[in-house]
Amino acid sequence: MREMIRMITVLTVLCAFSGGLLAALRDGTQEKIENQQLEFVKGPAIRNILKGSSNDPITDRFKIKDGERERNIFVGRFGGKPDTIVFETSGKGFKGDISMMVGVNVTDDKIVGIGITTHSETPGIGARAQTDPRFSGQFKGIPLTGEFKIKKDGGQVDAISGATITSRGVADAVSDAVKTYGRIKPSISDKLNELK
């Protein structure tokens, strides 16, 4: 019996100590980790979309409540005015989710660019959606309204040959961004007005 109690005590104390230590460490590093993730995973796509902005979109970000979720909104200043925002959206690809960033000009609601951050598409085929600017460039300048579809489905986007499902996923993600943008636009405008 005494041995039993001793085993339980030692294990409990050890677990509690280790749990406490890790929780403290996690608290201490959480912000840093989040910054690193933004920088390395989403940073390249965001910076590419907001090329030529006068600020650093990763430091100039804010959070907006969209229903249950909190969304990171990255702000790009062009000519001194914070008129472009980038936010995240996603669609179903050939092998998994495709996460992307979509940049929108809030004054005329037009897409300034899209960029894929993470995906698990086939290298050399679907993965070209991330690397080939001829595909992602198509979205530039299109008003962010209505539904985006590839030409095969009667839409406006040229699919990548051999990667219909990936292209469809990207178009779906942009359509999803239209809905999100519709929901969060009022709160974004408020925030941007504060920044001016």
């Binding site: 294990l11 050890l14 280790s18 230590l21 890790l22 840093k32 390395f40």
Partner: protein, 198 residues
């Protein structure tokens, strides 16, 4: 019977060098040795975990009841591994992206657990520290050597710097999985050959 501290330290560098002599921790050995940078990162993580867990287990060896010792070792090792994982994410994120799943898997590779059971639980703090440090460095050196061979021949670079001229055609086989097995096998063979002679 009583070995000196130096002996505890140096045995990890040759006589009990983990991947080649103990043939332990092979999963990350095969997986992360595509480039020297990854191997060095992995090596440093293992040194930290091994030294930390060895010292702590040795400190607690009098109060850990032997019936639940394995569970206690696992908690200690897992704590150190999670510390490494969090620190790596916070400070060297690009390395974390490359090593990925192999950092948490240090918990189940047998080196830290094996040393805790075989050495630290029976010895006092300073020899345990030397043992952990020696084996950790031995492991890191093995990974570095293996990855240097694979990287130099497989992609023609060393730590990201080009070694051969632009006309070098990389021997892709070396950086793929079968290349890892072949390379490890050849190294084991060389190690055994030298070991027998000496």
């Amino acid at each position: 019977m009583a070995k000196t501290i130096t002996q505890e330290f140096t045995k990890g560098l040759w006589k009990e060098i983990p991947p080649f002599r103990l043939v332990l921790g092979l999963c990350p050995t095969l997986a992360v040795t595509k480039s020297v940078e990854n191997a060095v990162g992995m090596g440093i993580a293992v040194i930290f975990v091994l030294v930390g867990s060895n010292v702590l287990v040795s400190m607690l060896r009098k109060i850990i009841p032997s019936k639940v010792r394995i569970a206690c070792f696992i908690i200690v090792v897992a704590t150190f591994v999670t510390v490494v994982e969090l620190l790596m994410q916070a400070y060297t994120y690009s390395l974390f992206l490359k090593l990925g799943i192999f950092i948490p898997l240090i918990v189940v590779n047998c080196i830290p657990l094996g040393r805790a059971e075989a050495f630290a639980y029976k010895n006092s703090i300073i020899p345990s520290f030397a043992d952990g440090l020696g084996l950790g460095i031995g492991y890191a050196v093995s990974l570095t050597v293996l990855s240097a061979i694979r990287e130099v021949f497989g992609s023609g670079t060393f730590y990201g710097h080009t070694v051969f001229g632009p006309s070098f055609q990389p021997f892709n086989f070396m950086i793929e999985a079968p290349g890892a097995f072949v390379c490890l096998g050849l190294m084991l063979c060389v190690m055994n050959f030298i070991g027998k002679k000496g």
